[in-house]
Amino acid sequence: MAKLPANEVLKECVDGEMAMSAADIQLDDQGRLRHFIAIEGLPRALLTQILDNAERFAPVGDRTVKKVPLLRGRTVANLFFEPSTRTRTTFDLAAKRLSADVLNLNIEASSTKKGESLADTLRNLEAMQCDMFVVRHQVSGAAHFIAQQVAPYISVINGGDGRHEHPTQGMLDAFTIRRHKQDFTRLKIAIVGDVAHSRVARSNIQALKILGVPDLRVVGPKTLIPPAIDAMGVTVYDDLDEGIRDCDVVITLRLQQERMQSALLPSAHEYFREYGLTADRMRLAAPDAIVMHPGPINRGVEIDSAVADGAQSVILQQVTYGIAVRMAVMAMILGSQAQAGAA
């Protein structure tokens, strides 16, 4: 009777090892940053390098001439398929402070209404010969897709893709925390709010775990905490008091009106009562705790004005740091791209 040979290649298929390799498209073969799509999978040393570089760029904003000539002659195109003023403005500023030229392309999500596929839109944009695309899109994985599609000389920065990640926000939050608390490995940090729908939360979790935060928590009602999130290395709390107890950093997320319409929450009022950050609640956190928010804030919903404007709040600093962090990421990417080109 003929015996079937052991089939090594298909055994791989069977065990699922045929999955697209985790080889990160973000790094070139020297481990330098080529695209900035997601914090997941990046080495700690690289994240630290981004933070260190951001320190170099931070003083530029304090000078009269808020510019350095690093990216003079380069063109950065902001492709925002999802509208956003604040994120686009900070990317715009960051590029201009590096002396790059900036193109702002507000592509309606339904330029696909005209029947043009995303792939075709990209091909047309490539004809404008930009060096970098900053992309924001409502579908998770869009930044990965775009990075895989574009010509090799174009780099992509993810300005937020669906619910997946908003990596520059994750890094500027890490930068803010480092400025105030220095050592990640000693911190208790809580992320409060609509984690399920938040790409900022996912990027925060990835960054803070990689940077070594030992006690990272997500706090929110069950309907707003995604399933199996503990697999990302966080502890889940549905009680705010327990969740922020003794925390050094409390990051609170924006609650969108839609959540009430989708039967996820009864009302903003009840949410504020159970999960709103008030001065009273903050007494449970560490006495020198800092309060963060990616903005824009909903006063009286996720956070009380007294806390948002209070001494512990570093919310406005986050905005300032965001420019330095984005300058650092852009400079690192275009620098390594040039190196690769020159090699």
């Binding site: 330098r32 390098q49 260190d52 570089n53 320190e55 170099r56 931070a58 003083p59 530029v60 000078r63 009269t64 001439v65 510019k67 350095v68 000539p69 690093l70 400079a331 690192m332 620098g335 390594s336 040039a338 190196q339 020159a342």
Partner: protein
Amino acid sequence: MQYDIEALIHTMAEQLQTRLGAAGIGSPALVGIRTGGVWVAERLRAHLGLAEPLGELNIAFYRDDFSRIGIHPTVEPSVLPFDVDGRDLILVDDILYTGRTVRAAMNEIFDYGRPRSIQLVVLFDRSGRELPIEAQVVGAHLSLQPGEHAKLTGPSSLSLEIHRTRA
């Protein structure tokens, strides 16, 4: 050849003092280019008896070879703790070679403000200029073979190292 660097800097300080006097500059501000230029500038400041803190430049963002070498965050950021406008600056570097570092330093200074004057003081002048830049005060002239590379080590005890780079 061995150099007595402290003695060189002492002489440079005297020459500089004379020049400042002749030009009528009473309140110069010293700006050192990191890292070697800062070490030299610190010693000059002591010799000249200046109270004001040094300015320290990290010219990384103004280099003209960013496209080739990318960004290297090994050096502290620039700090100019005084208002540049209208000041007489003394720009200090350890080794003047192609002139590109000084060009970058001057571009950076002008992004901070408009100085009244800039004088360039260097510990060593190595020929091989690629730009029309010269120092007003020079400690010593270096004569190197092609393929040789000079580097100042410090900070407490300054000495000059010559390396041969592989062709």
